[in-house]
Amino acid sequence: MESKEKIIFTRPESLTDRITHYCPGCTHGVIHRLVAEALDNLGVREKALGVAPVGCSVLAYNYFNCDFLEAPHGRAPALATGFKRLRPDMIVFTYQGDGDLASIGMSEIIHSANRGEKFTTIFVNNAVYGMTGGQMAPTTLEGQITTTCPQGRNVAQTGQPIRMVELLAALVTPAYLERVAVHTPQHIIKAKRAIQKAFKYQMEARCFTLIEVLSTCPTNWGKTPEEAINWLEDDLIPYYPLGCKKDPESLERDDGAV
């Protein structure tokens, strides 16, 4: 008798079958999957090159089933630039945290975006330094408690949290910049669409592409996975509005933000 069961959910070919080291409730794993699904859907796994950051996702190369470089802290966009300039036929992406990209690697990301480098950056913003144990990041919210701002972030001394996609959108060079989140199934679907669009633009050699993904860090937020999802929704999203901030298709930005 023929089985009626059909497999409708499998591991993307672009992911290995290793178990990740991410904490329970961490959304790094979801983001990995979305990137892998995009590579699968576009059929580019065999010509993809990822660049891992220094941060919790430093071992991303163990989970993606494609060639990978491991960059110094913050320098992934420089590595991606060097690689892609020599191999414009390959699909190159960096995967970076907010300490990596918005603090130590600020110069590299801005200049890569400004040169219009044809690679894709997956920017994982969890408002904290995860790997080193929960220190303040440039994206930490005002009043948010971390191990290096135990009284809560004092913006009079440390400045306001940096909105990266808005900052990059201010550059004149065309780019595709969108902020997404992965805390609900609906948001995950939108995030996947944005990531895939970024890779598509890269394949067409159109522009620099960066997707900022709001991500959870229950461990360093001192929250349960469920509380973390609520905090992302109630606190992070109001400060980091979701949506497309720049798109070569519509030079008019849809939310008016700069």
């Binding site: 494609c66 420089a78 020599l86």
Partner: protein, 364 residues
């Protein structure tokens, strides 16, 4: 190819192209800007890659990415810029990536000046960045040698999968001399670059990294590197001797253009009846320590004179090589001031005078 008159920086650039390095990343800094200017003209002609990065920090990391493709890549800079590149150099050494870096040295520390110096010897030969690694360091003394060593650097970088640094004082970059650059660099065959990231088509993914969280695996990687450095010490020691003779009492040791000035001094000293020879290290890592020991311990040698455009940096390696067998005197100038042949001769005269028996005094 016939000899042509060329500025050092431009000759270095053309030599790299002839060695197949048509991928160049840079950030402006005096006194090596002519390389970038030359490359920015030449790369579009031959479909190469020229990119001026936002900083030397970024440039060195661009080299990391570029070298991962398996193609030949290089950069040129000067002292403060090389300091900024140390992070990526350490990572590239750890990840075993071949890359060529040229340092046309200027005086430091700090912003220092823009005149010639040899004060980055420690930085080049003793690591520079963090971790247990070495870069292979070559030091030309003429423009022709800069051309030859530049091409060799790419071969050695590939042979050892390790960063190679060519260091020259500012004069090497700025001087004009007649040079011969071959149409194509001929070199011994190298194994295919199966380590390069070219896309995981029909093979497992290639990961280029320097991270090993397991201490045993990190030690394994360090051991692989150490074996390479040991092999370099056996196979890549390079040096040149000038007027080495049994009648010499004095051995002068100098590298780069400083060695040429010492040659002039030696020729002049000869006319005064002072016979001295020159030992010129060409590879600074590996340092020619056995050969220096051999020359220093020769019976006829009573003094060793080390001359540098720095405050006795290479001199420490000479002392290490000579293991106290003969007295070593150091003379150097800093700040971009180049010791003149007369200054070198003065040092030599002092040493030979010291050894002359004093008139009227009988030996006990």
């Amino acid at each position: 190819m016939a000899k042509i008159l060329m500025k050092g920086n431009e000759a270095i650039a053309e030599a790299a192209i002839k060695a197949g390095a048509t991928n160049y990343f840079c950030y402006p800094i005096t006194p090596q800007n002519e390389v970038a200017e030359y490359m920015s003209k030449r790369m579009p002609e031959i479909d190469g890659v020229f990119l001026q990065g936002e900083s030397e920090l970024a440039v060195a990391n661009m080299l990391f990415g570029a070298s991962s493709t398996g193609k030949r890549v290089f950069t040129t800079s000067s002292s403060p810029g090389i300091s900024l590149m140390q992070e990526a150099i350490s990572y590239m050494a750890g990840a075993q990536l071949p890359v060529v870096i040229v340092n046309i040295m200027r005086g430091g520390p700090g912003l220092g000046g823009i005149l010639p110096a040899q004060s980055d010897y420690f930085q080049a030969t003793k690591g520079g960045g963090h971790g247990d690694y070495r870069v292979l360091v070559l030091a030309p003394s003429t423009i022709q040698e800069a051309v030859d060593l530049m091409m060799l650097s790419f071969h050695l970088a590939d042979k050892y999968r390790n960063p190679v640094m060519m260091i020259g004082d500012g004069m090497i970059g700025q001087m004009m001399e007649s040079v011969e650059i071959p149409e194509k660099y001929t070199e011994p065959e190298l194994p295919p670059k199966t380590w390069a990231a070219t896309g995981a088509r029909g093979r497992d993914p290639i990961i280029i990294k320097s991270l090993y969280l397991d201490p045993n695996l990190l030690e394994d990687n360090c051991s692989i590197l150490e074996e390479k450095y040991d092999r370099m010490k056996k196979e890549e020691v390079r040096f040149e001797l000038y007027k080495i003779a049994p009648k010499n009492k004095l051995l002068i040791i100098a590298y780069g253009t400083m060695a040429r000035i010492c040659q002039t001094a030696i020729d002049e000293l000869e006319k005064e009846g002072i016979s001295a020879g020159l030992f010129r290290p060409i590879s600074l890592f590996p340092f020619p320590e056995d050969a220096i020991y051999k020359e220093v311990t020769k019976k006829n040698i009573s003094d060793v004179l080390v001359i540098e455009m720095s405050t006795a940096q290479m001199c420490e390696d000479v002392e290490r090589a000579a293991v106290g067998k003969k007295p070593i005197t150091f003379f150097g100038r800093t700040g971009g001031i180049v010791p003149s042949p007369e200054e070198v001769m003065e040092q030599a005269r002092k040493l030979t005078d010291k050894r002359k028996p004093k008139p009227g005094k009988k030996k006990a």
